[in-house]
Symmetry: C2
Subunit: 239 residues, 2 copies
Amino acid sequence: MAANKFFDIYTQLKDEVREGIYNDTMLLPTELELVERFKTSRNTIRRAIAELNNEGLVHSVKGRGVVVLETSKVDKVFFRTGNFHGLKELSSYNEISTSSKLIDFTELTVSEALAELISFHAGERIYKIERLRVINGKKMMYDTSYFKKSILGPIDKKVATGSIYAYIDTHADFKIAASKSIMKVVSANAHDFTNLDLGENNCVGEIENITYTDNGRLFEHTFIRYIPNEYVMVSFAQH
Amino acid sequence: MAANKFFDIYTQLKDEVREGIYNDTMLLPTELELVERFKTSRNTIRRAIAELNNEGLVHSVKGRGVVVLETSKVDKVFFRTGNFHGLKELSSYNEISTSSKLIDFTELTVSEALAELISFHAGERIYKIERLRVINGKKMMYDTSYFKKSILGPIDKKVATGSIYAYIDTHADFKIAASKSIMKVVSANAHDFTNLDLGENNCVGEIENITYTDNGRLFEHTFIRYIPNEYVMVSFAQH
DNA sequence: GAGTGGTCTAGACCACGGT
DNA sequence: CCGTGGTCTAGACCACTCC
C-alpha cells in the first residue's frame, strides 16, 4: 500500500514472524544484519521493528536482541466474537452497517444538563443521532451520538441514515484525527431494557467515544451500549 | 528521571500544553523552532512530539503543524473511579494492595480442559493463585492467576501472599516485557455471586490478561472479574 | 511558492547482556 | 570484552497545506 520503505520492511518481517520463520522465543536477525539484507539505513530498520513492537509481535531487549513473543489464545481472538476490531474502529466508522437502523435524528442545543454529560459546551448547536444494531433479529447495540453542527455543517436525515464518516470524506474540509474511549460495565436502565435484547441480563457494556478533527477540535461524542456475552476488546501494552 | 534528551523535551512540552501555553486547537511551535530552542537535532524533537501524539495530547498534520487537542471530560476521568490506570497496570503489578486478600494458592498440572481456557499447554506445571479485592467492606474484584512454574521457579505461600512482581524484581533472572488483554461483559456465574458483592446485578466485567517475559515467553494468564459501576478503562487511538 | 511535517541516510557514541 | 539495541546528530529530499 504505502511505498514507505520502513512499512514494506515491517510488513515483510511481520509475515515472516507469522509464518514462524523465527520461532517463538527466538531472536530476529540483528539490526545490522537487516541493514545488509534490505540495503537501507539502520534508522529505517529500527522504524520497522518499532512497528512490530507496537503490534505486540516482538519485544526489543537492549544488549540481547529482538525477541519474538509466543503466540497466545488472545492473538486468535483478535478479529472475532462480535465486532470490536481492537479499538481503532470504535468510532462511528463501522457502526453504520446494513444491520444498523436509524432510530432518531434531531437537531438541538446543548443544555446545561447535557453539557455535564458530554464534552460539548452549553449553547452549542448539535445533531443527535440514535441508531440500533440488530444481528439475526437480536438487538445487540444501541448508539447515541452527538455531532457538533458548527464543524459538520448542515446535514439532513438522508446523510444521517447513511455513513456520516463517508459524508465527511467526500463533503467536508476536515479529517478525523483521533479518538478517546472510556469503557465501563454498568447496570441496565429502563432504556436499555426496551432498546436491547438483554434476556436475563440486567447490565450492559458502555463505551463512551470522543472523536477529534485534525484541527484538534472535539467533534463527536458517542455512547455505545451493548449486551453482555457478545463483544470483546483487545489491547496490548509494553512495559 | 531519564536523562534522555527527547524525554526531557517531551516532559517540558507536555507541561506547557497542560498549562495552556498553547491553547486548545492551536499549533505547537514548528519543529525547526523547537530545534532552535532546545539546541538539538530535529530527530530528537520529532521523537518528543511522537510521544505527545501517543499520549493523545496533540496530533501532527503534514504541511500544517502540530495541533493541540481540545481537552475533554475523558481526560479528567483518567485516574479516577476505581483503579484501572489505563491498561498498563492491569497485570498483577498493583493487584496486591493492602485491601487484596489471598484466597487460594495451589500448585497443579495443566489439564486438557484448562489448556483450552488459558494459553499454557497441557502438562505444564503451574501455580494457581486466587485473590479478592475488598474496598470498604465490599467485594469488588476477584482474580484467578496462573503462573508458569518453569519460569517463576519454586515459590511458597508467603511469596504468593505478597507481590509476585516485587519478588520477580529482586529474585528472578527475567523481566516482565509486555501484556495483552481481552475485555468483556459477561453474565455472572455461581462463583461470581458468592465471590463478589454484585447486589442486584447479574453480570460482571472480565479482563483476561496475558503477561510475557523479556524472553518472549508466556508467563502469566489471569482472569479478573469485577462488579459493575465501579471501574473504568480509558484508551486513545490515532487514525 | 514558502513552510510544514514525513521519510531516509550515514555516521557517532552509549548502556546493557552475555561470554 | 564484543555485540546488541537505544540515543543522537546533521544533513537531504519529498508530500502536503495554505496563501
